[in-house]
């Protein structure tokens, strides 16, 4: 089975928060341009359940944004740039503990009722009442949500929680109180006929296909320009690739192994853009007695030729990562290039050997180093067997580590077996990536924040390598208390330094958004020159709403 990557939809931002002009244009609805047309999206690996609950992780990407809109849109690819959406503005209190949204007037649900501040208050209190719906655990930080005046919603936090802005404003689809208040059990509510504020509604759904049709009364005048979206459920990649390359579908988000021959050569209108968003890294179990020694971890970081892994394992479509953990070029402005250069982590197997020898390790007759107490540096790395590119990448890694006297066994496992081991910490090394966010901070918090981890044998939601350092935790907490860009940058530099000095994990390649699109029928796609939203067709929400609003007939 070829692999599809579900990268990152959960991205976005704080950072440059401060003030957003209420008059900022909501989306670049170019004047003129052709209307109509049916957009077909090609990619999926399962049959549809035809439920559209925005709080069901299996179907929320079908509805959040395009049907159930969010308060704001936070763009990962433009340094967490905020665009007002259902809320026209927001403001943090001076102590960053109270967040106030002003709700847009004149927005209607598709059943004709107006959107009110009460709907937003209801939505968030629904997540409080039913923790199974709270996919981003926003109520871990919130203490209350209440209406103020006619059109304002006030969110009060237990502690300063600036990064939560992204989860609250960009990831929670707002639902109508007049419908959801009557739902007996929202956890098991399928929501087959969703009523939202978004530019599209569900026309019909079968397990094989979802048909969206445009909402004629959408609150942004003149939008959307395309009139229908078809989202078929492919069970396997080859037919999805075939439909995409022959123009039967115009937008895809799948990995196509031989992109040039299989896709680009079929039409001059076929294009791709693979922007990187998070790191694929080797997570190092911090409780392993041999891997506890930072010398071993540093030696491994020197012994891996990231460029070669990217070239062979990922066909060059995924760039090599850096040890500072900042995804470039997406988040290049956050990178402390001087520190990275000083730390020197370029491919250097001799240096790796020198580090180990200096730390008292001795090479045995089989060429593998052993610790002073005689334990061989032989490790097992767990990997997803379905990701054929990762299997190839780890073959390269194990050859390279062998040259530096470290033995690596690659264990390619089925998805659930792999995940169970990963979350429970039953591994020496693990090849994996986190979901990230609109600034590098989110990925660092997921990697390093101690309290979010769990003891070995208990499932940890994040921080799978069980890294624990009080100073790092304090840095991560301090970041959450500030909206100052310079202070955030200063903290991020220190966190990058943790990665460089302590090597709790080794970033190897950068996970990208797979995005193939055809300009034969529709134009207005996100490109490197205009990265107005994440392009991963049909999965990254609410970004794909932003994209379909920009698209128009050629």
């Amino acid at each position: 089975m070829a692999r599809t990557h579900w990268t990152i939809s959960l991205i976005a931002g704080l950072g440059l928060a401060a003030g957003v002009s209420p008059l900022a244009s909501v989306s670049a609805a170019a004047a003129g341009g052709g209307e109509g047309g049916t957009l077909t999206i090609s990619d999926a690996q399962f049959l549809w359940s035809c439920g559209f609950s925005p709080y069901n992780p299996q179907s929320n990407f079908l509805s959040v944004g395009v049907i159930y809109e969010t308060l704001m849109f936070v763009n990962t690819l433009q340094n967490a740039k905020v665009t007002p959406w259902l809320a026209t503005s927001y403001a943090w209190s001076d102590d960053n503990k109270v967040l106030t949204f002003t709700i847009r007037k004149g927005v209607k649900w598709t059943d004709g009722q107006p959107l009110t501040a009460a709907d937003i208050v209801f939505t968030f209190n629904l997540l409080k009442k039913f923790p199974a719906l709270d996919l981003n655990t926003v109520w871990a930080a919130l203490s209350s949500v209440a209406q103020k005046g006619d059109d304002q919603v006030v969110m009060t936090f237990n502690a300063p929680s600036v990064p939560y802005f992204y989860y609250i404003a960009d990831q929670v689809g707002i639902v109508p109180e007049h419908i959801w208040a009557n739902v007996k059990n929202p956890v098991t509510y399928a929501d087959a006929k969703p009523v939202g504020t978004g530019p599209f509604t569900i026309e019909r759904c079968t397990p094989q296909n979802v048909s969206y049709v445009k909402n004629p009364d959408y609150w942004q005048p003149g939008l959307p320009k395309i009139s229908r979206i078809e989202y078929p459920a492919f069970t396997t990649n080859p037919p999805a690739n075939a439909i995409l390359s022959t123009g039967g579908a115009q937008w895809g988000g799948q990995f196509i192994p031989n992109l040039k021959a299989e896709y680009l050569s079929k039409s001059r209108d076929n294009h791709y853009w693979f922007p990187p968003v998070v790191n694929v890294a080797i997570f190092i179990n911090q409780t392993n007695p041999l891997l506890k020694d930072v010398a071993v971890r540093r030696a491994m970081a020197f012994a891996i030729d990231r460029g070669r892994v990217a070239e062979i394992g990922e066909y060059g479509y995924e760039p090599a990562a850096n040890q500072a953990g900042i995804v470039t070029p997406t988040f290049a402005s956050w990178l402390d290039a001087a520190e990275l250069k000083a730390a020197g982590y370029t491919y250097d197997p001799k240096k790796a050997i020198a580090i180990l020898e200096q730390a008292g390790y001795k090479r045995g007759p089989d060429g593998v180093f052993a610790s002073p107490s005689g334990k061989r540096l032989s490790f097992t790395i767990i990997n997803q067997s379905a990701y054929t590119d990762w299997v190839a990448a780890l073959q390269v890694v194990s050859q390279e580590l062998a040259q530096a006297g470290i033995e690596l066994h690659v264990q390619n496992l089925a998805g659930d077996d792999y995940s169970a081991k990963l979350y429970n910490g039953n591994f020496d090394l693990a090849y994996a990536y986190e979901s990230g966010g609109p600034t590098p901070y989110y990925e660092f918090r997921q990697w390093l924040y101690g309290p979010a981890s769990a003891p070995i044998g208990k499932s940890a939601a994040t921080n799978w390598e069980r890294y624990s350092n009080k100073e790092t935790d304090a840095l991560i907490e301090r970041y959450a208390q500030t909206t100052s860009a310079s202070e955030q940058q200063e903290i991020m530099n220190k966190l990058e330094n943790v990665l460089l000095q302590d090597v709790p994990l080794i970033p190897v390649t950068e996970q990208v958004d797979w995005d193939e699109y055809s300009t034969g029928e529709f134009v207005g796609w996100p490109t490197p020159a205009d990265p107005y939203a994440q392009p991963f067709g049909g999965y990254t929400f609410p970004d794909w709403e932003i994209v379909v609003l920009r698209l128009q007939k050629k």
């Binding site: 959960l10 439920g51 992780p57 956890v187 939601a461």
Partner: protein, 327 residues
Amino acid sequence: MRYVLRRLGFFVATLWTAMTVNFFLPRLMPGNPAIAMMARFHGKLNGQALRAMEVAFGVNAQESLLAQYFAYLRNSAVGHFGTSLTFFPQPVSGVVLGALPWTLGLVGVTTVIAFFLGTLIGMVGAWERGGWFDSILPPVFIVLSAFPYFWIALVSILIFSISLGWLPLGFAYTNGARISLSWPFIGDVLVHAILPGVTIVITSIGGWILTMRNNMIMTLAEDYVRMARAKGLSPLRIMIDYAGRNAILPNLSGFGMSLGFVVSGAILVEYVFSYPGVGYMMLQAVLNEDYPLMQTLFLIITLAVLLAILAVDAITVLLDPRTAAAS
């Protein structure tokens, strides 16, 4: 009567064993449904969603395995199959009923066609053995059935859908079509069924031909066939009523078994052609550790196979009374 009772006893014992295995085997898999869901959406879901899903799926509910087992037996008996986790929050019964007609239609019809066609070819081939018919058709189909199914399917997609563009490359009907009992929709479904249907038939027909042809050659050497010829009966009547009727018996039990297995779908067929049937659903259920859906599908398969065997036993007794007498 004793014969029937003994068959029924066997039926109940087998059913219970199969249901017990259905229950315990999936639970030996590592992980739990929430972790399987995180694996499916790896990187797409915030790690915190794990906690939300554990609550929604009731993963940490403290109930002993034995208590769950008896609840499962009780619920199965009264037809309560619970909520699917892969297609959460749809009820299992709805999910299965939505997929079953597609599988029954495609795999059921093609199994019947393959059986009748294969039996006919085997019978005629044996009757005229050595002739041109016998030298061409049986060998061709037997060679075809030796190919891996997915290879034949992918090659035919490549030729008839991608290169020639004659037939759709997958799905059960045109995307966006409204499901209805109208002629245009039925025609659409039939067009979509040609490629998967024909590939199933040409890859499965070889087995029927081979057994039928061999049995037929044996029966043609029997004394009663020679007797029939001597009586001057028409060749058609000898072929069908005398030789064919006896030669078909072993094929018939095989046919019953495969009818039972129709409800398990054809995983490869549905996978390659993105056909929204039960086989693909079963694959998803296993991958996602969807215990309720898995149990229901396995229960249906077990029941169908056992009922088919029961029915074949009955038909065999009618066609060949010796079976009952001897037992």
